[in-house]
Symmetry: C2
Subunit: 213 residues, 2 copies
């Protein structure tokens, strides 16, 4: 299927990070080939769905044989934009912001926390050898200087909208928002919402139905 300017099912894209992980593991185990059957089972989807998902991006397997692990790994990294390093700027150097800054899982996915920003002067300064908390007023300057791609919003709910607007003005093309509010931004800005409470509340709902309370 030719690519062109089409966009792909949201649900498909959301499964690619899972495929990525499975393939990384196969690669570490020196497994060279996998079938859709085997990999689907590992990831928890149907073989049909796995093949369909991959087919949106071309003919990535070998009929009668399966998928070449390292080739597919490369393609999926490309699809997820991991062939180029993405730099994150975290706005809000509170508990959550600092916890994210210290998260070790980003690196292996081509992501790097390159700066933090805060309005509180007591927080300004180096965090470690590679990382510094800057005044929020330096957002635009540091975005350009450090080549930041994604603004991570970890400020309190009440400040999230204002901070989002600052990030847009500063030239960020994408926002990753941890504040539990809907952001009003121009349509060309990409926004990803992250909400820790949604998952556990749906669990709570199912628990209530299951236990009858």
């Amino acid at each position: 299927m030719p690519e062109g300017l089409v966009s792909f099912p949201k649900a498909t894209i959301a499964r690619f990070p899972l495929y990525l992980r499975a393939l990384t593991e196969y690669s570490h185990q020196n497994i060279v080939l996998v079938s859709s059957e085997e990999m689907a089972q590992k990831v928890g989807v149907t073989p049909s769905q796995l093949r369909k998902d991959l087919s949106y991006f071309g003919s990535l397997g070998i009929r009668g044989t399966g998928y070449d692990v390292s080739y597919l790994l490369m393609k999926i990294k490309e699809i997820l934009g991991m062939d180029r390093k993405r730099r994150l700027g975290i706005i809000g150097a509170g508990k959550l912001g600092m916890a994210l800054a210290g998260y070790s899982g980003f690196q292996q996915h081509g992501l790097e926390v390159a700066a933090l920003f805060d309005t509180d002067p007591t927080k300004w300064g180096p965090v470690n050898a590679q990382l510094e908390v800057f005044p929020l007023t330096e957002l635009a300057a540091q975005r350009a200087k450090l080549g930041l791609d994604i603004a991570v919003i970890t400020v309190p709910k009440a400040e999230a909208q204002r901070v989002a607007e600052l990030a847009v003005e500063a030239g960020f093309p994408a926002l990753w928002n941890f504040a539990p509010v809907r952001l009003e931004v121009p349509p060309e800005i990409l926004v990803q919402y992250e909400d820790i409470v949604v998952g556990v509340l749906t669990l709570s709902h199912h628990l209530a139905r299951k236990l009858g309370s």
Copy 2:
């Protein structure tokens, strides 16, 4: 629509925490009535979708008038199982586990971190006045004693499956898994997966398409 033993669209349930938040805010602002139009706009869904979602749980509004904020709030809390307090036991007192234990947003959603567990003896003991890290061997005993409902898995990937099995043996009906692996558990056990990297990688994908790299 009568309830019976039917289950509701997953996507519908996932939107209820958003409705909950909007209603909580209206309530704080002493707003008594809202229309589906107004509330949908705030949450970022269509009015049709909001009304459809609510309609699965009965006739919760007043035709010609709108929805009574406090009544709807009560119903949604009920639907999400928030009428009863849910107690969480966090397995893995590492960085992530401790960060979750300190998260202040749980309380207002009827959730409470009531215990932590770890195999490392240097971590055992009180965290603060209300919270203690227990040896993992005490999982079953403390689950029963403290009335824990949900096991939160924050151990490294390699240990997640083993820990999940221990939690099931200990009698937990639900698991909230932060380790990036699929868990094999009996079908009656509820499992919710949480994966911080999925969101930002889909953002990275869209960014790659948007910027052409």
